[in-house]
């Protein structure tokens, strides 16, 4: 809890209730605990062991930017930490209220303001659920084409704040590529907007300053995104390659020739054995790949011809289209219990992105850390490569320890050591701390190492925007509220 005495606790409650109305503020224990857990392993493990989690003092449900502005002014007056909460689906502990204070749940801001079918854009409030927005767009033959596994529960604002990525990002881009404009409430309570279009020569990019800020630079309230027409056709083919290196080369050539697939998903040998067995009931050895192409049928046919040539040249065995289609239709199934990774196992998605030149050394170095340094815990490592760029690829690696220490502090220590080793390995091999899950609490302490001398510039920007340090303190590597 942030508020240290009952008098101030009640005083501040009065002021906040006056802003949002007494029906839209809570300090009930039952609500505080519901807002203490996101999808991070640490927050779940902690409560699973019956440990008291960090909780907010107040949870508020404002209905517009004006109310949020007034909340932040109160927060600044009393130096109260504020955490914006969208869907709570982040895996990095980014919304855990580690310093107590106020959680602002933005989901009452959920209107679609405009779908501009001429310009192919949508403007919506930041609290709208991703799936709800997608359904509305689909009714008009449009799509956001942003398909993260959190789509059912994450919000549009969260997509932007976390720099999220969806399954078809290889063609359609990440959320940061789709966003055109935001309206937000700054940490000091001003309501501002970025320029109406993202491409300009009007100075440095204010929009991208806020993208990926994970609630530390303010509260995003409205977003305009580029949308796309639903494709005439979307087809998938899957292939089996002799080994991962062949698969990476296939992906690289496809990207280098600018064939613009909507998805390439390449599984390493370990994941191939597990995944293909589970989904296709085939016992195969090698490296499995799903490739998707969408758009106009005529153009797709030509693209497929080129892709099939590349796959053939590198010895790929064509497994047909059924498996890929099945993957697409069931792509979120493995996030439902009992299929999702779950406690009491210790696991993490250790992902990063780097150039094609660096990806193999990075991958093998990371694999070695998990399998050798943590061999005593029987840690194992598996990966797929799922977000491809003209210059490189993201490796979505995972580690798993089936039987971690039962003591929560020991488990936490082990978890943090693995992440520290892996993150440093990424940085050493030309990668970044994270490609699309964000930094949050988990990786914040490594931001200084990642950015080197440039880190002080980010810290100064944070200080300038948020002089009292109230916005999501302790996340992204920024310190506590003053």
């Amino acid at each position: 809890m942030f508020i240290l005495n009952k008098l101030m606790y009640d005083q501040i409650h009065t002021e906040l209730a006056d802003i949002v109305g007494s029906d839209y503020i809570t300090r009930r224990r039952v609500d505080k605990l519901a807002y203490a857990v996101d999808t991070s392993w640490v927050s779940q493990m902690w409560i699973d062991h019956g440990q008291e989690p960090p909780t907010a003092d107040f949870i508020l449900f404002p209905q517009n930017a004006q109310e949020i502005s007034e909340i932040l002014k109160v927060a600044n007056t009393y130096r109260i930490p504020v955490v914006p909460w969208g869907g709570g689906t982040g895996s990095q502990g980014g919304v855990i209220p580690i310093y107590g204070g106020i959680i602002i749940d933005i989901k009452r801001l959920n209107r679609i303001i405009e779908i501009d079918e001429e310009s192919l854009t949508v403007t919506a409030e930041a609290g709208i659920l991703g799936q709800k927005l997608e359904w509305e767009l689909n009714e008009r033959g449009l799509t956001l084409a942003h398909y993260p596994a959190s789509e059912y529960a994450a919000t549009l604002g969260g997509y932007i704040a976390a720099r999220g990525s969806g399954t078809l990002s290889t063609k359609y881009g990440k959320a940061e590529d789709m966003v055109m404009w935001v309206k937000l409430v700054t940490p000091t309570g001003e309501i501002i907007e970025t320029l109406p279009v993202p491409k300009h020569a009007s100075g440095p990019g204010l929009l991208q300053l806020y993208v990926g800020s994970e609630g530390t630079f303010g509260v995003i309230t409205e977003v305009k995104m580029r949308v796309d027409p639903l494709p005439e056709e979307r087809l998938f083919h899957s292939f089996l390659f002799e080994d991962l290196n062949k698969g990476i080369e296939v992906g690289r050539r496809i990207m280098a020739q600018r064939l613009n697939p909507c998805v390439i998903r390449l599984y390493d040998e370990v994941d191939t054995k597990k995944y293909v067995k589970r989904v296709l009931n085939l016992d195969v050895t090698g490296s499995y790949m799903v490739i998707g192409v969408d758009g106009f049928r005529e153009l797709n046919d030509a693209i497929w011809k080129k892709i099939l040539e590349i796959c053939r040249d590198l010895g790929g065995k064509n497994l047909g289209s059924e498996a890929g289609q099945k993957w697409w239709e069931h792509r979120y199934d493995f996030y439902f219990p009992p299929y999702v990774k779950a406690l009491p196992k210790l696991f993490g998605t250790i992902e990063t992105v780097t150039t094609f030149k660096n990806i193999k050394p990075l991958y093998y170095a990371t694999k070695e850390i998990i399998e050798k340094k943590y061999a005593d815990y029987e840690a194992y490592f598996f990966a797929h490569f799922s977000h491809w760029y003209p210059w490189g690829v993201m490796v979505y690696a995972q580690f798993m320890i089936e039987d971690p220490p039962q003591d929560p502090e020991q488990a936490l220590d082990l978890h943090n050591r693995i992440w520290a080793d892996v993150a440093k390995c990424f940085i050493t091999h030309g990668g970044v701390l994270n490609e699309h899950h964000g930094i949050g609490l988990k990786l914040g302490w490594l931001m200084r190492k990642q950015y080197g001398p440039a880190w002080s510039k980010l810290v100064k920007i944070k200080k300038a925007l948020d002089p009292n340090g109230i916005m999501n303190p302790g996340k992204l590597g920024f310190g506590p509220a003053k």
């Binding site: 979120y332 219990p337 009992p338």
Partner: protein, 373 residues
């Protein structure tokens, strides 16, 4: 807390999982994490871990669920959070922590035989006297919703039965089926009502019991046996839409042409609970000239109206928020008539509709009663 042992797999699965957030009826109305299936699972888990104890705040959370089971329908893992929620309600009742409006529902049912608190003397009275029990083996079980709130549905049902030449009887001392008592957590009182009702069925000696209320149908057919209350042998319990479909197929009712655009709301308790989706549709497409258009979300994935399972009585504001959303989906179809097959659904939509909407709300039996040739 032994009673939660059989729910541990569900609680452990739901407590951290947000994958049904987008279809949770109540949380889409008021957007609170706490009342999502994840929030409820996490709350129950944290109680079992000793991080909090049942109290009135938690009780309120557990009653903020319309039991529509849309979460269960969407869940790839087939988890059903409504089961531990109902267990939690029974626990809350045993601890005397239930909200006052829940207590009031119980008091109303025990005193006046209906959850609304309407006087028994105000109960629906048919225009024509029903046949005595000696003359017929066909019982029309009215249900509280039609008896005390939507009597027009009961009247229409009787018109249809008469037109088909069905000699029916009614229970002059019809008791509540116990559905609301059970879902509120008063299992013992619900069982007691069940026993009384089954006794009446036995005394009546009916072979067919037609029910207009999906809550009644599911509770009698499925829950009474689970409560150890055996149904009389050889008695068929059936919903009006199913029975009427048979009448139409047998040509015992002839329908006039209806040149209207019509859409249909799948009631949660008729659809997801009783598994009845086709019967009402087959009846609707039997009307010549009727242009039937479906809403976007139908059948197993139909959105809830918000008024079922007692939510309209316990949290009316929440129920209305839900109804507004579903009604707007119906309007989007361009339909002139919104048909449903549940008294709660009709009440929900009537409250939202106004003349300018140009969308009339009717129960299926009313459409038939008005258009029998």
């Amino acid at each position: 807390m032994k009673e939660f042992e059989r729910h541990m797999d569900t609680i452990n699965s739901c407590r951290f999982c947000p994958m049904c957030r987008h279809v949770c009826t109540v949380s889409e109305a008021i957007h609170k994490e706490t009342i999502t299936p994840k929030g409820k699972g996490l709350t129950l888990f944290s109680i079992l871990k000793g991080l909090q104890t049942f109290n009135r705040d938690i009780a309120e959370v557990m009653y903020q669920c319309v039991l529509c089971q849309l979460c269960h329908e969407w869940c790839v893992g087939n988890w059903n959070i409504t089961e531990p929620i109902l267990e939690a309600r029974r626990k809350i009742i045993s601890m005397g922590l239930e909200p006052p409006q829940v207590q009031q529902i119980r008091a109303n049912i025990l005193k006046e035989g209906n959850p609304y608190g309407e006087k028994r003397s105000e109960r629906f009275v048919p225009i024509e006297s029903p046949k005595s029990k000696r003359e017929t083996s066909f019982l029309y079980f009215v249900g509280c919703g039609a008896a005390y709130r939507r009597s027009e549905i009961a009247r229409a049902a009787l018109v249809v039965l008469k037109a088909a030449g069905i000699k029916y009887t009614l229970l002059s001392d019809e008791e509540c089926c116990g559905a609301y008592l059970d879902v509120m957590g008063y299992r013992e009182e619900a069982q007691s009502l069940a026993q009384k009702n089954v006794e009446r069925f036995k005394v009546l000696g009916c072979s067919t019991v037609v029910m207009g209320c999906p809550h009644c149908l599911y509770t009698v057919k499925e829950m009474y046996p689970q409560w150890g209350v055996k149904l009389p042998k050889g008695v068929r319990f059936v919903h009006t839409t199913t029975y009427i479909r048979e009448l139409v197929k047998q040509d015992r009712i002839k329908l006039k042409s209806v040149k209207k655009i019509v859409t249909y709301q799948d009631p949660c308790w008729l659809g997801r609970y009783c598994g009845i989706y086709n019967d009402p549709r087959e009846v609707l497409v039997s009307f010549d000239g009727l242009d039937f258009v479906e809403m976007k979300w139908t059948r197993e994935k139909a959105n809830c109206c918000g008024y079922g399972s007692g939510l309209a009585l316990t949290f009316p504001q929440m129920a209305n928020e839900i109804a507004i959303d579903r009604f707007s989906q119906a309007k989007k179809t361009g339909a002139e008539i919104l048909i449903t097959a549940c008294q709660s659904c009709k009440s929900a939509f009537l409250k939202q509709s106004s003349i300018k909407d140009n969308l009339k709300v009717m129960d299926l039996v009313e459409l038939i009663a008005e258009n029998i040739s």
